[in-house]
């Protein structure tokens, strides 16, 4: 049985899997809104910020470009730091970059590596908690959208999505629908149906 929980709601006596939980007197409570599954004893948050971790792919916008470092806005409390030691691309402020988090330090800075500039395209922002659902199991969902619409899609774990080429409107519509219906079942079939219909209507 899955149920929607709010902050402070009792989840179970056993410590569930997942983040965003506090344990008091041996009982686990949610700290953000989420879905609790009592058979799997797992808690999946529906709302909440993104905490950068090593190896996360992010889409950022260069805020400030200096000779040796550039600061990247990642739509988060954390700032991305691109050190030219780790890249040979010259950044300018306003550039859209795709990069991977190398490590995160205690001053809320995520050092990024392997940056790639992205040219053109469209950026949409989604809730960072829904990114895993948009990717799908082993990225199946996003591959499906890419195949149907012919678009190139890059998904940052920070909730920023970059789309270029093909049917951008249909692709972003599909992504926003996944974001809204992330907690429901049978989503893959509905998205497939929507994509086929959207393609046929063209």
């Amino acid at each position: 049985m899955r149920k929607i929980v709010v902050p402070g709601e009792l989840l179970s006596d056993k410590s569930p899997r997942g983040k965003d939980i506090i344990i008091e007197n041996g009982k686990a409570y949610a700290t953000v809104m989420g879905v609790y599954d009592d058979q799997k004893n797992s808690f999946v948050p529906l709302e909440g910020p993104w905490y950068p971790q090593s190896d996360d792919l992010v889409i950022g916008i260069v805020e400030e470009a200096k000779l040796t470092t550039s600061i990247v806005d990642m739509n988060s409390l954390y700032k991305g730091l691109l050190i030219s030691k780790y890249s040979d691309t010259n950044m300018e402020s306003g550039d859209i970059v795709e990069a991977i988090v190398r490590d995160v330090d205690e001053t809320r800075t995520a050092v990024l590596q392997r940056p790639r500039k992205l040219f053109g395209g469209k950026i949409i922002d989604v809730k960072p908690t829904k990114v895993h659902r948009i990717l799908g199991r082993e990225d199946t969902m996003i591959r499906q959208i890419e195949q149907s619409t012919g678009a190139t899609i890059k998904i940052g774990m920070n909730g920023r999505i970059w789309i270029k080429g093909g049917d951008v409107a249909l692709a972003s519509k599909a992504i926003l629908q996944i974001e809204e219906e992330a907690h429901t079942s049978g989503l893959t079939e509905r998205i497939n149906k929507m994509l086929t219909e959207g393609k046929n209507n063209k």
Binding site: R2, V6, P7, G8, I22, V32, P49, R108, T129
Partner: protein, 248 residues
């Protein structure tokens, strides 16, 4: 200001001026996620009070000297719109009263939100009173806590707030404007529903010895209703989608 000479009879035959019983709440309606550009928002209609609450953040605290390297800071602004009240509060400029309420709302959430997750960050809470009829600080806290949960700020609990007053020897729950002006005491409290932790306690007027326990009991009883409304408001958008497509 209210002149004691004009004091109306507040309780007649166990009924109050607006026909409510002594422990009866005004009708409350809460809606969450009403604003698109804020991270979290809510709108509350509590009797004749209409209050909009919005939350932004967590993001980098600016100016930089306001940052705390160990935890996030909360910035709160309570303001009454110029058309919100017919009497003395009808102004949206910062006043002694709005500064005080901003401070107490900030302290409620400083004690319930998990600020140590966001060192150097800031969380902004805006409480905008569009129409007021007494008890706006309690309604504002109730709305702000829904907006905080909607914004995804981790919290230990979902606090609610309510005020109880004394008229003569009688305690009345959830006072409106007239009762507030002429009552002998007004005690707004904000409480965590899970463990009844008190987050806000103010008192305007005097209370008899031993009456405080009764006040707290009344707040806890009525708080169960308010908590339920807050939870339902937050869950409603998600449950509507689940009902449509399955997944429950």
């Amino acid at each position: 200001m209210s002149n004691p000479a004009n004091k109306p009879e507040l309780i007649v035959n166990g009924k109050r001026l607006d026909g409510r019983g002594l422990d009866e709440l005004r009708p409350i309606k809460i809606t969450s996620s009403v604003l698109k550009n804020a991270a979290g928002s809510s709108f509350i209609e509590w009797g004749n009070n209409k209050i909009m609450a919005a939350v932004n953040g967590p993001r980098e605290a600016l100016p930089k000297h306001t940052q705390d390297p160990d935890k996030a800071v909360i910035k709160c602004r309570y303001s009454m719109s110029p058309f919100s009240s017919i009497e003395e509060h009808g102004s949206s400029r910062p006043s002694r009263r709005s500064q005080e309420i901003s401070k107490v709302i900030r302290e409620v959430f400083e004690n319930v939100a998990m600020l140590d997750y966001f060192p150097g960050g800031e969380i902004e809470i805006f409480v905008e009173v569009l129409q007021s009829d007494g008890g706006t600080r309690a309604a504002g806290i109730t709305a702000a806590s829904v907006a905080m949960a909607d914004a995804g700020i981790p919290m230990r609990d979902l606090p609610y707030a309510l005020s109880v007053g004394r008229v003569g020897d009688t305690l009345i729950t959830d006072m409106n404007k007239i009762e507030d002006n002429y009552s002998d005491a007004d005690i707004p409290m904000a409480v965590c529903p899970r463990n009844d932790e008190i987050l806000l306690l103010q008192m305007d007027g005097t209370l008899k010895r031993g009456e405080f326990g009764q006040v707290f009991e009344k707040i806890k009883n009525a708080g169960k209703v308010i908590s339920k409304l807050q939870t339902d408001a937050l869950k409603e958008p998600y449950i509507n989608i689940m009902k449509k497509y399955g997944g429950l």
